[in-house]
Symmetry: C2
Subunit: 218 residues, 2 copies
Amino acid sequence: ALKFIIIGMGEFGLSICKQLAELHLEVLAIDREPEKIQIAQSIATNAVAVDATDENALKAIGVNKYDVAVVAIGTDLEASVLITLLLKQFGIKKVVAKAVTELHKKVLLKIGADMVVLPEVEGGKRLANSLVGPNILDSFELSGDIRYVEFKSPKSFFEKTISELKIRNVYNLNIIGIKRGDEKVEFVPAGDTVIKENDILMVIGEMNDVIKFQEKEK
Amino acid sequence: ALKFIIIGMGEFGLSICKQLAELHLEVLAIDREPEKIQIAQSIATNAVAVDATDENALKAIGVNKYDVAVVAIGTDLEASVLITLLLKQFGIKKVVAKAVTELHKKVLLKIGADMVVLPEVEGGKRLANSLVGPNILDSFELSGDIRYVEFKSPKSFFEKTISELKIRNVYNLNIIGIKRGDEKVEFVPAGDTVIKENDILMVIGEMNDVIKFQEKEK
Ligand SMILES: Nc1ncnc2c1ncn2[C@@H]1O[C@H](COP(=O)(O)OP(=O)(O)OP(=O)(O)O)[C@@H](O)[C@H]1O
Ligand SMILES: Nc1ncnc2c1ncn2[C@@H]1O[C@H](COP(=O)(O)OP(=O)(O)OP(=O)(O)O)[C@@H](O)[C@H]1O
């Protein structure tokens, strides 16, 4: 199983530790502040207070034994760049770094980060997409050009079957699930499924088609 | 069409403005710092420098005319609580607030926020999920109990059809799309589709089933 090292116990780093621990994975938490390590102790497999820009300290912890590292430091670009460089030097296969701006991201990718995430920017985009239609409950990019949208069934859909509505033909969207009250989700529903009032439709499709539908919906 | 007011031009708030503007929606950007408003001017429909805790200033801008407001202030809980309260008082139907911790979230919900988002915490959880398997390219909660996973087709799947693999029966997962190189995504592929090396499988299912599959994968 993969072994993880997370550096920087801000809300982002701590949340990563929590989720990995919940999946029963081995995770080492690093932060230079003892109080942050105190909190991380009860969450991560191990937690050590060190300054991650200190090459000797990293060596002493044996960072080279880890498969994946996340540099979860947002405010100090210099530190996150230096730490990323050191971790790649130590041979860690996958180093993910947090960035706050697109410029930070460019720098981190140039110096060797395998992946860069911007939780604030990505979260803002996702929230915006979910707010554009009163019927839209959630909406985000699945990947590349594909978007997922979850919305309350519009009145015009009530009591019609999926085939009848020709959703694929008319809207170029695909219904991949229907949520009905507390019932289990019906995944990839059959064409003769009748859409009811209060059904929540889970749809995927290409960006342009989903946006067209969202704009039509609002 | 809905009219939006975004208060707080940090990376999160600014990103919301960008995305709404890209969808051709009317958005007013608010921040008390003029330099932040300078940046927002080129992105939002309108941008005004005011202290959003000032009830008279909010009245003067005519906040009551807006349908959706986002209070994108993370570090100052007092300010975000006060602003949320004022916006609800002014009659804005949907007020979304950013929070940094779960405790902040509880407070904001109690005082009337319609929705609270934690971009750092949610981003951390999502990143963790996408890191757990070497073949897993992305993974996140679609909603409630349902998770989406994108992963490189495992060797054991090559040259077999979807029906043959009995993915629904064996893993209780649903293939909702296949990405093959630069080709368009094939949504809801037919059961006789043959899975090839390098295919990226887009799968949805309930949390437990996806986690079981992910743990088996790693
Ligand atoms: N050189 C370093 N070595 C180890 N830990 C560090 C180093 N520099 C910063 N940190 C730690 O990284 C953590 C996150 O730093 P950051 O400045 O990004 O905080 P933050 O913006 O509040 O994080 P978040 O947005 O995730 O809540 C802090 O707990 C800090 O102590
Ligand atoms: N009372 C207020 N009225 C208007 N704007 C405010 C008020 N208080 C704070 N802001 C603005 O909110 C913005 C975001 O504040 P915050 O302290 O959350 O910054 P941040 O953590 O850097 O944001 P982000 O994480 O989104 O980048 C700042 O630009 C700040 O000027």
